[in-house]
Amino acid sequence: MPYVIASACIDVTDKSCIEECPVDCIYEGARKLYINPGECIDCGACEPVCPVEAISQDRRVPGDQQEFVADNARFFSVPLPGRDEPPGNAGGSAETGAIGVDTELVAAWEAD
């Protein structure tokens, strides 16, 4: 039951959540941030600091944002566009720095 970042983060990437996360499991794509469900400890520290309220627990993700539950997981488990290896459980975004690419869903997302 990890936390999930939904579409409101796209093109905002405020990163306050990254500062709060005690296990450093929030990674930076190009247009959006992603929570690694394999590393998230469900503490909820990220949720209230998001200025655009993009974060919620997977079971409370609003109906029209459901696809982001699987999309957050996909970011870590399948190779991203143009990459050979998925990021996997890297052990912290401070270690990896920005990943710099997005999932197909986010890359193709049309800005409002």
């Binding site: 306050s16 500062e19 005690p22 400890i41 459980n89």
Partner: protein
């Protein structure tokens, strides 16, 4: 080198470690609690002291900090030794000897059993992105004593409770205090922020410390803001309060079976793969594990009672009922 002798060393003074200290005391074990953080309470104290918790048995609701205070009081009846602000580093057992744990500060703890209630691991301060090489030479991540900042120009970085509390406490001591926060909104308690705004602390928001300079020690910082661009100001002390990250750290090197790089495998007695070393709470893993404080409390009792038998094989596993051995001045239920 400081040496602590005890029967049971508890590594991790969060809720589960504190409850284990109570049980160890009840079993007559001399107990020490070790934690990398400066205060007891683990994640609850460090991350959500104000959060109401609704799933502690017998408490319809309890604030995080109140739960910790009660656990400290409950364990306090048996006067466990607290070794705080000092992480566990190594664990070894000399041939034929007792278990030895050495801490980050070099203190030695000698014991017959260890209970690891380390939760998500050792908390370490998140480093200041620029200037971490100045650590100990003007840059610090904690404020252990206010006096050290007397007469200095201090720059505090961060927007949480620690940053705001430290800025306020240093205001009457330091020559000047500047608080730099990356965003306009503070995560600190509303009342603390209003006190801060009414104080002489200069608050610079939407800004970051972009350079730290000096000769032997820090003498100035560069602050770059979205509105005002970059400016350099004198600072003999920089306090970075950017929160913490946690990971298992040195426990990985103790020869214990680790699961998924973050959990410790235990059997039904809460014993790990190393004889004499037990684990309880969020850090354990087994089939069906649920990571909740409620579960950790039960694991703490299981671990301590099994440790008691390992330490003294003539002891029974069942500790007896606590109501049969009340404290000398037990409060009478009304």
């Amino acid at each position: 080198m400081s040496v602590t002798e005890c029967d049971l060393l508890i590594v991790g003074a969060g809720p589960v470690g504190l409850y284990a200290a109570y049980y160890a005391g009840f079993r007559g074990l001399r107990t020490a609690l070790l934690d990398s953080l400066p205060e007891a309470g683990g994640q609850v104290t460090a991350m959500y002291p104000e959060k109401p918790i609704y799933d502690i048995a017998g408490f319809p609701v309890v604030r995080g900090r109140d739960l910790v205070a009660r656990l400290v009081e409950q364990a306090g009846r048996f006067s466990p030794a607290y070794l705080l602000a000092d992480p566990a580093r190594t664990l070894s057992r000399p041939p034929g000897g007792r278990i030895e744990v050495v801490t980050g500060s070099g203190a030695l703890v000698r014991c017959d059993a260890v209970l690891i209630s380390g939760g998500i691991g050792t908390f370490t301060p998140r480093p200041l992105p620029v200037g971490s090489q100045w650590l100990g030479r003007g840059l610090s991540y904690f404020v252990p004593a206010l006096d050290a900042y007397a007469g200095l120009d201090v720059v505090v970085v961060g927007g949480g409770d620690s940053a705001c509390d430290w800025a306020l406490s240093l205001e009457p001591v330091a020559r000047s205090v500047t608080l730099v926060h990356r965003r306009a909104v503070f995560r600190a308690h509303e009342y603390t922020v209003s006190q801060l705004m009414a104080s002489t602390v200069e608050v610079i928001t939407d800004a970051e410390v972009t350079a730290v300079s000096g000769r032997d020690r820090v003498s100035s910082v560069e602050i770059t803001g979205q509105r005002h661009g970059a400016s350099v100001r004198p600072a003999q002390a920089v306090i970075a309060a950017l929160g913490f990250t946690a990971n298992l750290g040195p426990i990985r090197e103790w020869g214990i079976d680790i699961v998924s790089n973050r959990y410790i495998a235990v059997d039904t007695t809460m014993a790990t793969s190393v004889r004499g070393v037990f684990a309880a709470g969020d850090i354990t893993d087994y089939r069906g594990k649920v990571r909740l404080i409620s579960v950790g409390f039960g694991e703490a009792a299981t671990a301590v009672n099994n440790a008691a038998v390992l330490i003294s094989p003539d002891e029974q596993l069942f500790p007896g009922h606590s109501s049969d051995a009340p404290p000398p001045a037990a409060p009478v239920a009304v």
